[in-house]
């Protein structure tokens, strides 16, 4: 995807951040961006749900505002109103004006959790994997940033790439591959246990991989959680929580803490790995007993713990 350079009369690009049916998780995740002060020197929020903004929500709802980039957070409900104006009218007006639209978060992208309540709740262009037509004329200028929430670097990095006219390779849902080309599995500190097919995983331990028993979806979930660590320090899977697949269209699935299996084999295999390849490698790996993996990482080989 290549966007034509956004020429504006102002020195900074104007961003309008609209909240639909949202928990504001993406807005708060954005506040965790370390260099937010530098970012705010280069971009202006004509409206943001938390930060001081140039305009009030009533100005937005009365169509008094101009913007270069439209960010939508939250699921779209047919009859939802903001400041007493139908959200549909507000979105249509500003989407038409904006050079680029960002659906921020899984709710705005695919409907997310709240779409499970009603068929009338969806993302802007998708309801899970189903492509919707209502806003189709804006699809080609939409960038999908899914996640619950989206890592602040994913949003900020994308905004800078838009501003700088950077070529943005994208996937089938218009997600930038710089972020969504990765799987959550990439960079997870528990990878070795996956590679050598160590099924055993106990919560509360640094060892083990939760793919086999506890429902981890990291091998088929597109997001850079283990490339750009959260708050720069950690990720859910590193901590020991199974990936819940929160950046994928079908989030949330049911029975999230258990791996569904067929004949003892995980029902969902790593992204685009043929079943035969997976089973062959798993078969080979399982023929070996590697002693190191049966030991705790923080346990000395002998009684060598230092006692002062």
């Amino acid at each position: 995807m290549i966007f034509h350079k956004i020429y504006t009369m102002h020195s900074k690009l104007d961003i309008l951040w609209l909240s639909a049916l949202a928990c504001n998780g993406n807005a708060h995740s954005f506040l965790n961006y370390k260099d937010i002060d530098l970012f705010l020197q280069e971009f202006d929020f004509v409206y943001h749900p938390l930060l001081p903004s140039k305009y009030k929500l009533t100005d937005i709802a009365n169509f008094k505002v101009e913007c270069d980039i439209l960010i939508i957070e939250g699921s779209i409900e047919k009859h939802h109103k903001i400041a007493d104006t139908y959200l549909d009218e507000v979105i249509s007006y500003y989407a038409n004006m904006a050079k680029v639209i960002i659906t921020l978060g899984t709710c705005a992208s695919f409907g997310g959790i709240f779409a499970q309540y009603s068929q009338n709740i969806s993302g802007l262009h998708y309801r899970q994997k189903e492509k919707l037509n209502h806003y189709n004329s804006f699809y080609n200028k939409t960038i999908t940033l899914s996640g619950c929430p989206v890592h602040p670097e994913t949003l900020v990095g994308t905004l800078y790439m838009i501003r700088d006219d950077t070529k943005l390779p994208i996937d089938e849902y218009n997600r930038p591959l710089y972020y969504y080309g990765y799987l959550v599995h990439n960079g997870c500190s528990r990878n070795e246990y996956f590679e050598y097919k160590i099924d055993k995983h106990n919560f509360g331990e640094v060892e083990g991989c939760s793919f086999y028993e506890h429902g981890c979806q990291g091998t088929y979930t597109h997001a850079p959680c283990n490339i750009n660590l959260w708050s720069g320090v950690n990720s859910k899977t590193r901590a020991g929580q199974p990936c819940m697949g929160c950046s994928e269209p079908n989030f949330p699935a049911t029975n999230l803490w258990e791996t569904k299996k067929h004949m003892g084999i995980p029902a969902k295999l790593p992204y685009k790995i043929p079943k035969r390849a997976y089973l062959s490698l798993a078969g080979v790996a399982k023929t070996f007993t590697i002693e190191r993996f049966s030991k705790r990482i923080f346990e000395s080989d002998e009684k060598k713990d230092r006692v002062d």
Binding site: L50, K56, S231, P252, L256
Partner: protein
Amino acid sequence: MKKKIELIEKIEGEAWLEYEYKNDYIEHVFIKFASSRYIEDILKNRPPLDALAINPRVCGICGHAHLIATVRALEDCYDSIYIPQKALDTRELTLIFELIQNHFKWFYLTIYPLVTSQNSITKATIPSQTASEAIAILAGQYPHTSYSIVGGVVSEITPLMIRLVAQKIDRLIAIFKEYIINRDLDEFLYCNKIEEMLKKEGDLPYIMQNIVDKNWQQLGRSHDRFIVFGKSGLFKSGKSIHTRYRQHIDTKYITTFTTPNSKAKSLLYREKFYETGPLARAMLNKTPLIKEAHRRFGDSIFSRILARVCEIPQLLLYAKQITKSINFSEPSYIEPPKLPAFATGTGIVEAARGSLIHKVEIKDNLISNYTIMTPTQWNLGNGTPNNPSSAQKALKGLHKNMPTELVFKSFDVCSVCTTH
């Protein structure tokens, strides 16, 4: 009777205030929240443990409190279950950090601009990022981790992690002294003189002095009734009417009702509205400075704002104490027996804005009913002119030119929690 409708925004969503005036003074206010996300319905017929992943998404700013309330509700479904103290301590720590990030954000993004007409974004984000880092060290990420599970926590809590967390606490203490008030934490906690606090350097004395200079210190007085359901090493539960403390309270006396035209529930205790949150906690804890503020200004915006900021050093010192007492020889998690197929459970947490209660009912291994009662539903309910909620009472009698938005937001409105 004159009427005016005002949209209140930047409250994790929006709310409408419909004022009724008598001679330019507010006679009554109807508080309207226009949208809901139906989370209680979405949870029905799901496996109970899925609630651990879904419920943090009730709220972007206090989702962690919802996670802890969920895990407590699920653990309450067992006749008995052993949770290692190390896991309980870790949960307490992450909850404390969420409260701290809330308090800083509220003070600098909500109160500071309303009192001074100035903005101070990085004074909100720097401490809240530090608190988020501390949560991420223990829980993987913030917001929206589900690291706390039935039986403990998913992370192996190591001395290395706790050292890092302790350093974040020291950083937050330094930030508090640099931004909020230039005083040692211990000294500040025992201070019981308003003028002594006002004389110090920092944004807290600056804001509070501003409020005094504008003669707003008595504004926003409500019923003077407080309730705290959650207990911790820092907070005690009970209720306080004026300054009379009663320890015994029970969630069975909570009733809820809805009002036409608003998606929010209102909560009552024995048919009465109570205020919950930092002021309530400080009243029950008898925090010296808040006791003094309350003696002089009652349950006004002055006491409410001061109580919330005064909670930060208490939380930091409590967190420090926890980091020093963690027993690393304990496990972080002990696998519990399977959840009962039929059960009910209640989970209570003191969230940033007050008492948060989750109730789960399980039938045939699935959630049959889930109820979420949030602090904002206590404080911002819709009563009648004769029996107004805490926020309605706080606004009643104000002249139309008085800072109504500040009074309303002194309760810290969380629209998404209110309607979830």
